[in-house]
Symmetry: C2
Subunit: 282 residues, 2 copies
């Protein structure tokens, strides 16, 4: 019954397309291109499906953010499912859901995302600790990217707080590195962990990669958020020149606000893939 | 257009019913009482509505956890809306959603929860920092309970890590207290913050209350999770003998697995309210 795992799908899509680009699907009704605006949620689904079709040759994964579908109201999840149906099954889908709850409830979220939506991976919150993440890891063929150093302006409010090591021996280090170290331990037990680290903070990204040489990194923040692509790619690559997904949403979705949106999205994805690959090679 | 705020509704419901009890709505298909089991999602809605009706005289708020509705699939949010329709508008509803994302995306979540679902309050994650919470606080009549010290076994994995103060002067304190202190600052600016602190850790709850004498506290963990009610109430009360909501889910929902489930739920709620009030008075 179980098909290929997230890691298998990702490896194959990434290798076939020579791509580390993950296309983020964050559609908003009032940002739809002019020809689709004011035409309701179905136009939003059409928009996403055209974006998927146009970017497919250049993407190693898709990452819908659930918030933008939930904002559409009770039909949001059905609309998301319609969008997901446009993504070929061999291309992995990461549900950007940033869920986190106590174990009993986290199991319900895992059911929703892996079984009901059929996604291949998910983003999760670290704050509740191991038993809030474990229910996602219990799906061996799926993967959970734990938030580590996020891409937003306030990321440092808590993530940069200096925490003492349990033994008191080692030097204090920022919370996000304590999270990275803990997730590395979970990875030894489960093998299906990853981390989220924003492109907007390449120094922190490099520190995470140094501590976690083999963990898959999901790296948002390039484009609308201002992250510098080359610095992020260099900071996040593993020793094989891969091991990361560069997630770009708005710079692809809204590359053109007029009738050429799909063409422009495909072209933006093609250029981003090329820029990523150039940074990999340099 | 805007009706009474969360704080107004809560105060009125709490005072009218002499209650700090918040009834958690965490329905699961395979835990439905025997007469409803195997009868699909509509039976789950009926179950929740009967629970609401039976517990209404004893509850100052309701707290549906979105995970259990999302686990039902794409129709989950519609089913949740049907459940919410059974709660009288003067009784406040806390969406237990534990959302947290970058500001732009957090705005979409706030739209979903406050505008689409019409809830009065929400639980949110602290990990992304201020700009991940601010979009919820921008709804002045709503309230955001920020996770501080959660009720689960792994709560301490990160929440108990000792963090240094920014100035280096003050003593190191656990992360959850650093979160409490920061939220207290946000409260000064916004006035619509609260904290989540589990009943399972009354010592930590007391430390939070000491640092934040006036913040509303949402306190889950009594009942199925083993939290001791009296200790939690004593630890969490503010100086006026209120300021907290004791959230109980499974011990009410599944008080009786047979045909008397609604009666048993009402009776469980009545007893819990009495036990809470006894602890308040003692």
């Amino acid at each position: 019954m179980s098909g290929p795992s997230f890691l298998e799908k990702w490896q194959q899509a990434s290798s076939e397309r020579q791509s580390l680009l993950c296309v983020g699907l964050d559609p908003e009704l009032d940002r739809l291109p002019a020809p689709l605006r004011g035409r309701g949620p179905e136009a939003l689904v059409r928009f996403c499906r055209e974006i998927v079709e146009a970017t497919l040759p250049y993407a190693c994964a898709y990452k819908p953010n659930l918030a933008f579908f939930e904002a559409l109201g009770p039909q949001g999840w059905s609309l998301l499912r319609e969008v997901l149906a446009a993504i070929p099954p061999q291309v992995p889908v990461i549900a950007d859901a940033k869920r986190g709850d106590i174990g009993h409830t986290a199991r319900a979220y895992a059911t929703a995302i892996f079984e009901q939506l059929g996604c291949d991976a998910v983003t999760v919150q670290p704050y509740l600790g191991y038993d809030g993440v474990q229910p996602f890891l219990a799906y061996h063929e799926k993967l959970a990217f734990v938030l580590c150093r996020t891409s937003n302006p306030g990321a440092g409010d808590f993530q940069d707080l200096l925490v003492q090591s349990a033994s008191g021996e080692a030097q204090a280090r920022p919370l996000y590195l304590a999270v990275a170290e803990r997730v590395r331990q979970w990875q030894e037990r489960h093998g299906n962990c990853g981390l989220v680290a924003g492109a907007t903070y390449p120094r922190e990204l490099a520190a995470i990669r140094e501590r976690c040489p083999t963990l898959p990194l999901l790296v948002p923040g390039v484009g609308a958020q201002g992250g510098e692509l080359e610095a992020a790619v260099r900071a996040g690559l593993d020793e094989h020149g891969g091991g990361m997904l560069i997630a770009v949403s708005r710079a692809i979705l809204y590359a053109d606000g007029g009738s050429d949106y799909a063409l422009a999205a495909g072209e933006a994805a093609r250029r981003l893939r090329a820029a990523i690959n150039q940074a990999r090679g340099s």
